[in-house]
Each structure stands twice: as C-alpha cells, then as structure tokens.
Symmetry: none
Subunit: 124 residues, 2 copies
Amino acid sequence: MLNHMVEQSPRLDAVFHALADPTRRAMLGQLAERELTIGELATPFSMSFAGASKHVRVLENAGLVTRTIQGRTHLCRLQAARLAEANAWLRRYERFWNEKLDTLEALLRAEDEAAAEKSKTLKE
Amino acid sequence: MLNHMVEQSPRLDAVFHALADPTRRAMLGQLAERELTIGELATPFSMSFAGASKHVRVLENAGLVTRTIQGRTHLCRLQAARLAEANAWLRRYERFWNEKLDTLEALLRAEDEAAAEKSKTLKE
DNA sequence: CTGATTGTCAACCAAATGGTTTAACTTCTT
DNA sequence: AAGAAGTTAAACCATTTGGTTGACAATCAG
C-alpha cells in the first residue's frame, strides 16, 4: 500500500534531483559505457572543468557515481543501485499505468476498506 | 545502447524535478488512493493553501496530475503516464543493477565514509 | 445580502542551483 | 627545476525553489 504519511527519504530526494538535470542524465549515459575522468565528462558539453566537477559532485552525493583518484585524474564510475531504488519507488505506481491490474486493485481496495471498518468497530 | 548525445528532454526534467521533493511525492501517494482537493492535499502537511497550490502546479506542469474544477474546489487526479516514462528511462540502466550485486556493497561502503564525514551537519 | 469556504495571484524572503572565472594544489613530463 | 595537465576551492552572479503573507475572486450557505 502507498504511504499515507509524509515520505521522508533524503536518498530519493538526492537521486531524483540529480536526474532532473539533462547534463547529469547525459553524464550517466556516458558512464554507462565506460569509466570517465572529470575532463572527459566535461568536454562533450563544452563546459568548464569546474562546472563538470560540480555535476559529478551532485551525482556522487546521490550515490549514482563513485570516484577513484588515480594520480591527478579522477575516474568516475556509474553506481546503479540508487537507480534501482528510484525504479522501485516508481513501480509502486505501476498499476496506474497498467490497465490489466485494475480489477485486482479494486478487489484489494475493497479488502482494505473491510479491514479498516473491522478495526474501527473493534476500537469502539 | 544508451545515448551518446546530450539528453534533451524537458519532460523528464520536469518529472524528475517534481519527484525530487518529499512533499510532492507524498501528495502523489495520497492521490494514488483517491482524488483530492487542494485543501485536502494541504492539510496533512500543515501547509498553507498557497503552498500546496504551488506544489500541485509543479506536479501539473510535469504531467503527473490533472485538475478538474468543480465549483470552488479543484479536484486533483493522479496521471501516471509520465511516471511510466520516467520508469522507462530508468530501465535502460537495468542491466547495471541486475548484473552486479556487489555494486550495492561498494555503494554502502562509500556511503559510510561519506556519512562519517557529514555526521556533524546531518545531526540537527 | 452577508459571510464563510476554496483557491489563485503577487510580493517577498532565504536558500539552493547551474554556471562562470580566477587562483591554488597535485601530479606528471621534460 | 620548470612547466604543463587535471582537478578543486572560492567568490560571484542570475535564476529558481519552497515557503510565507495579504489581497482578491469566485462559490456556496444562511
């Protein structure tokens, strides 16, 4: 069941925020093929090293990228676990875009309401 | 294969940005159960009507919510198609979290180090 | 008509974002 | 030792964000 309370998840905040920028999504796309340095990540976007560095920092804070310092270069590597978490969150809404499950959903909701009413009478 | 070009998708920008806020994610959770008015969306968060109205606007701009004006009340309904789009984007990376299970382990290790460094600021 | 309810709009605020530039620090090369 | 290369840090800037308040418009109830 979807959460009634305020959803408190700084991790999801950071992941979705990181994904909300097209440059960062493109960087992840690049990193899906091979590990890249900050400079290699910067050049395709005609962006300063410092700018790219900031984006990588955001991806790192979201847990989407890890960094290995090799001499003076910083090798960045994709970490997909957090993408899986975001995917898991989204899939909770899958029934809303999958019509096949509509009847099952209605059935489960009826059961939930019955259970809620039962607990209410027990409380009185 | 994942895209080499700069990913240009204002829709994904808007969807991921909308999902990056915990209040908005919670609002979607509420709307997954039934349609709600602006006021009904505002009260659980002890937030002003205007504040909730702004969040709903963001969700609307992202295509995640549609609104039906009934008299003086605005009924909001979840629209899941854009969530499906975001899900589709994430699934392009599915092989990265299916192939390697130790990715999570590496991530947790990196996270522990980051947490140790940030524990001061995280403690309110 | 008189109020109360529902919601938007505009103005404002502090904080964060995405970007730059300049300076500095390492590390590698010669 | 000198200099080039890779990266970060700091300062700065314009814009956006998430939130508030107060005024206003529309609708409903008496």
